[in-house]
Amino acid sequence: MAKAVKIYLDVTWWLILVGTGAVLLGFLLVAGADTTDADPIEGVGFPIVLGFRLDESVVPALPETAEIRGTLQQGHGQLIIRTTSKSAVFVILGLIELLLVVSLFVLRDLRALFREVVQGRPFVEYNARRIRRVGFFIVGWSLAGPLLNYLAAFPILREVEVHGLILRPPTNLNIELLFSGLAILVLAEIFRQASAMQRDQSLTI
């Protein structure tokens, strides 16, 4: 089990490391490219998460024989936009790079934490700090993700129209992720107290 987790963490680490390098290379190439928004570069696709309400005038009614009686009202999904604007590509690659770098820091903590656990030293103060950092990252991401989605969708939706759909920026919070992050923060506090007890224990003669 421990070996499988170690392999999983190592493989993820190397994949993200390679991805970070590739995105950084792309970022630098775009930054150095002698182009303007009027002279587009090769396109990059990116998803915009959005919600929508069905236009009441074109809502298809559920058939009379349907077991669930009611009307179709709303849904959510994502638009994939392929942009050729240099500034948009620059910002997208920058955000991806930032996310990858933060992920590398989190994975570094997880790998170090796992190494300590395997070596029989789970309850030490710096492990509690590592778990706390991972918890803060997850809580931060659970809050920043929807905000980024909202901000990214808002200006684009002003320019996009789809017949029969009333598009709106997404406003749904990722509750599961937020609770996971909070649970990890609680776990970090347990680890902190356990490490203090472990230290007391080791200094009891």
Partner: protein
Amino acid sequence: MGIKVNLDLLLLKRSMTLTELSESVGLTLANLSILKTGKARAVRFSTLEALCRALDCQPGELLEFVDDKPERKSRG
């Protein structure tokens, strides 16, 4: 730490080395060193008993309270 362990003093009085004490009470040199340097957080009664037996002393001779915090200034 306000509690001082007078292990050095008692070892000197009994003309005993730390190694001899270690063998006598069954504690490692590392643990005795933690005790001697005042890094210990707690002492088990069983350890205290073994040390008192080996050094032929009372707990009060082994442990001493030293008030190392500055006195509070009285108001007024």
